[in-house]
Symmetry: C2
Subunit: 133 residues, 2 copies
């Protein structure tokens, strides 16, 4: 019985259900920002996953990274599992630019500006088409 942490529910839009993880789009127009949440109970760390699920998670991190690279042509991709504030295991995959508002610092703790609906829907549609969802 998987349920998404309320904070992730509040901050994101669903994109796709991958083999292991739910793929989410962070509602922050400052950075193209995906989040992967493995659909298993009581996961806090990557090492809480079984070995085969760890391999699938790496594949899904790379799938998310490839979508960001193809759609947004970033200068750098940041990948991170932190969970200091939201304890449910989730992995950030973020497109970064030399010109973005936080560069070269990490994005966590920087201001969050929600998407305009039209822009958000266009991004979600493109991601779903690419992922065949």
């Amino acid at each position: 019985m998987f349920s998404l942490h309320p904070q992730l529910e509040k901050d994101t839009f669903p994109v796709a259900e991958l083999t292991l993880s739910r793929l989410l789009l962070m509602n922050n127009k400052n950075f193209p920002w995906l989040i992967l949440v493995p659909r298993k109970q009581n996961l806090k760390e990557i090492i809480d996953l079984r070995t085969d699920d760890r391999t699938i998670l790496m594949e899904e991190i790379c799938l998310a990274s490839e979508q960001l690279r193809a759609l947004f042509k970033p200068d750098k991709i940041n990948v991170a599992s932190l969970g200091n504030l939201v304890p449910q295991l989730h992995i950030h995959v973020i497109a970064r630019y030399l010109t973005d508002s936080a560069w070269p610092a990490p994005v966590w703790g920087t201001p969050c500006e929600p998407y305009d609906e039209v822009v958000r829907d266009a991004i979600l549609a493109k991601l779903k088409i690419r992922l065949r969802f």
Copy 2:
């Protein structure tokens, strides 16, 4: 021909050569902090790795996490591939505590205090014994 980025060379101590990556200890006594650097040329992103190397990298991230958990009993483990400042692909694996100086923020950009030699040597020795190096 692999060579470690000069900034990583300056900031870390070598721990072990794993199958794919060089394992390093960050010279910062504020956080037990390991770094994995895959020994391949011209890697910037995790998705620059071949599929089989991605799987090995995930195993090595978990190996590093397990060492930190066993030796330091952290409240949380932070895992991240950022590379905004140092372009050579490297993965941070960091032991975090509810009581550490940066909690709950990420550690990047916080003050770096070098280890006392005796403490550093004890940590390196424990890691090498656990990893059979």
